[in-house]
Symmetry: C2
Subunit: 483 residues, 2 copies
């Protein structure tokens, strides 16, 4: 055919090299400048958008113009999750090797829905998921060499949904996907469980009126006796207990549900046990914290998020099942255009059947790069250091006449409050967050407003925690009496 | 407290700069070397894993060792989606500005679940979603300035699920999330619709026995009359039609369902219409292809994937709804620890309520960088060029005595077959794919095996399409008589 003029708007490799170096330098400079920024963005609603054109450009624009707007318009609208004084929510800590893993993954641009669409994407994922089992000393039943296996999901919300769907299928005798969710299935979690469970129950069509919020003990961990009673009540009412979701490190206070007691009840009643260790799981890198997973051998599925506290940038949730065939049976739909020899042979894993999305990117790469960069030793060093800083802060709070602990510290989250009540605690938080010097969030414990301070940032060092504590005390002193 | 020795295993900004430059150079070199690789990976199951240590490293390893394994062990296991002779499935094309957007997003490391957790992440997303409406001339009803709005999802599978869940809530009088999915709800798509619809129906607990596969016309587009009959039959049986999913560019053959006829039926019966333009939507960048969306103004929701044909690397699905309040009402669960002033004020968007996951990364950045780098002009140039190449190939197939078109070409996918039957077509495909010179896949049309060749790669030029056609003809000649 007639050759068209070779017009191209693509970046050449040479241009990519140059602009790529600039982008890397920008990120390095961002790392260096982190402490210059207010942690929480101080823009007003609409301010970022107002700084950008309302209409898309007709002609392409130079890369410099884009980078200038990133600096000038977007940066003030960023809440700096990588700032060493970010103590809010749970961390979503990134790291050098992880960022470069994400870059390489984007550069390769593979889509790993099937083994055959990039065998390395699937096989590396299976391998690093097995590595994680070893690093955290998780049950062998999840290992890919047996009937189990692991997969990377985007978030624990999605992992919980997949676990719940599989539990639903199993409890319905593998009919729910065809005949709809039976009304008699019930689900159990504690009053402290993450909102993703309620969301998953909604999505799966079970109805939140079938979700039982089981009571907790004084430490805000699920009370197995209350769970047993709830299950028995439902059985007596002709309902069918389907799934229990236990948590290792609740969002509110990092309470650790007693997995063994819960697991025994689940086994007794043939109920699926899913354990959500989204944030807390990482702690099991340390032998001295392995108690959090005692009883996990009784679970049917488990997840934790390396993208929270393990230096892998978002998204990377690690999800395992004891019986991968059950998961695949729940989620597999095979149209003609995806059929291929490797799939038919049954020798390979096709991860598209392990979650809701069909397509998937090569997320194992960044996880692998983090594990190799740090090694077990490096990861353990930093997690241990976070715990040391949290223990120090706990001691300060306990020793202070005006503050008290609001929940037991199980790992790197401190929940505490000023004795003078909710208004004062709210005011302390608002003052500190508005100052830009640090960022912390709140929860409610026994109906009281409680400050949450999580120490898990990549760049967080002793001086940041010391400064945070100084600022908190100072804020309390400066407040007018809000008694 | 006692200062600990300042041991750190993190990459310093300086080390990140150096290793980042190396990683960028590797990606640039990968772009330059793409044509040296076999398109489809030639490894055997297990081969990649066998090349890597079974156990995680105790000590951290040098970055060079990781990059060496990427080159030596992983690269042979990559099926090269960015190879210019990748014609399989639909493309998942990356581009320079997109890869750098992903890098910057990872470097910023923000988590955009709430407006307040990074206002720029939310506001840029809303803006670029509005930009896309303008670029593709999509209905104004989806614009954020009114009752509608757009959000980035990971994949069209997830977008379809969210649309279906909202339709389910609406059809159940907003009770399904609380009382479970009613059994009487029915869903409609064509026999050609993507498998994600069946997956979503399963997930949502509706039961696939409530999914109606509506017949198509000779061009494999949904037959509105058949849809009307199916809906009427269900109504007569006491069921409640809930949602229709129409497709703009089906996966098998890029057939375009007649949206106006379908939309009118949906309006008549108060049924939610979701339109899936995952691959095909991008074609509407061109005014001459806008006919594909005729009737989209009757839809309640729509999605297409910039991560397929629009030079934004995976994942980036653009999803819009006409009534964002309905979507949020379906998916919103607000626990105490996420409460904040901005959310309470009602002035901002919290995208966590627009999809299943809670956390989300800053995907708008790469989309914004692609739109600014190329401009409307650059995007249109390349899409038009892909279409020109597809038209050329179509003419060759039509003119060839041994080959024939198996479905009408609507955009950049060609479905064709050798006249000598399935075995020959399978053999042609297997031969070509095994050769590594090109990669194409298949589908079935009227029960015949048909070759699918999609022209949408960033690096695909005229010479690659010419070569593909030469290889196909040659393969057909070289085959032993498989008649």
């Amino acid at each position: 055919m007639t050759r068209q003029p070779e017009a191209s708007f693509h970046m050449t490799p040479e241009e990519f090299r140059r602009r790529g170096h600039e982008a890397v330098d920008w990120v390095a400079s961002y790392m260096e400048r982190l402490e210059d920024f207010p942690v929480r963005s101080q823009v007003e609603p609409g301010q970022v958008r107002a700084g950008l054109p309302e209409h898309p450009p007709r002609q392409g624009e130079p890369f410099d113009a884009v980078m200038a707007d990133l600096e000038r318009v977007l940066l003030p609208g960023i809440t700096h999750w990588q700032h060493p004084s970010f103590f809010a929510y749970f961390n979503a800590n990134a790291s050098g090797p992880s960022i470069l893993g994400e870059l390489l993954s984007a550069g390769l641009g593979v889509q790993g829905m099937l083994w055959s669409t990039s065998p390395a994407c699937t096989e590396l994922e299976t391998l690093v998921m097995d590595w994680l089992l070893e690093l955290l000393d998780l049950p062998r039943a999840f290992h890919s060499s047996g009937a189990g296996g692991g997969v990377i999901q985007d978030t624990a919300s999605s992992a919980t949904l997949c676990a719940l769907l599989t539990a639903r299928e199993q409890a319905s005798g593998w009919t729910a996907h065809r005949e709809g969710t039976p009304r008699e299935l019930t689900v159990y979690c504690s009053t402290q469980t993450h909102s993703s469970v309620e969301k998953a129950v909604r999505v799966a069509g079970m109805g939140t009126d079938r979700l039982r919020l089981v009571g907790t003990d004084a430490d805000l961990a699920m009370d197995p006796q209350a769970l047993r009673t709830a299950i028995q009540d439902d059985l007596a009412a002709g309902l069918r207990p389907c799934c229990v979701i236990a948590t290792v490190g609740t969002t509110s206070t990092t309470a650790v549900d007693p997995l063994r007691g819960i697991g025994e009840i689940c086994q007794e009643h043939g109920v699926w046990l899913h354990v959500d260790g989204a944030h807390g799981g990482t702690a099991a890198l340390l032998p001295e914290l392995r108690w959090i997973h005692d009883g996990l051998d009784l679970a049917d599925s488990y997840c934790f998020n390396p993208h929270k506290w393990m230096f892998v940038n978002f998204d990377c949730d690690a999800f395992w099942v004891r019986d991968r065939a059950a998961l695949v049976r729940t989620l597999s739909v095979l149209p003609e255009y995806l059929r291929n020899e490797a799939t038919t042979s049954g020798q390979v894993i096709d991860y598209r059947d392990w979650h809701v999305p069909l397509g998937r990117r090569f997320r194992a790469l960044k996880l692998w790069m983090v594990l190799r960069h740090y090694g077990a030793e490096g990861l353990r060093h930093h997690i241990r250091e976070h715990l040391r800083l949290a223990a120090w802060l706990e001691a300060q709070v306990v020793a202070h006449p005006d503050f008290l602990l609001a929940a037991p510290r199980t790992m790197n989250l401190l929940c505490f409050r000023h004795r003078r009540g909710d208004a004062v605690n709210q005011a302390i938080m608002d003052l500190l967050n508005a100052s830009g010097a640090m960022f912390l969030t709140h929860t409610k414990v026994q109906d009281r407003l409680v400050l949450r301070l999580c120490i898990g940032g990549t760049h967080t060092q002793q001086r940041h925690v010391e400064q945070a504590w100084a600022l908190i005390q100072q804020a309390a002193l400066e407040l007018p009496d809000a008694g």
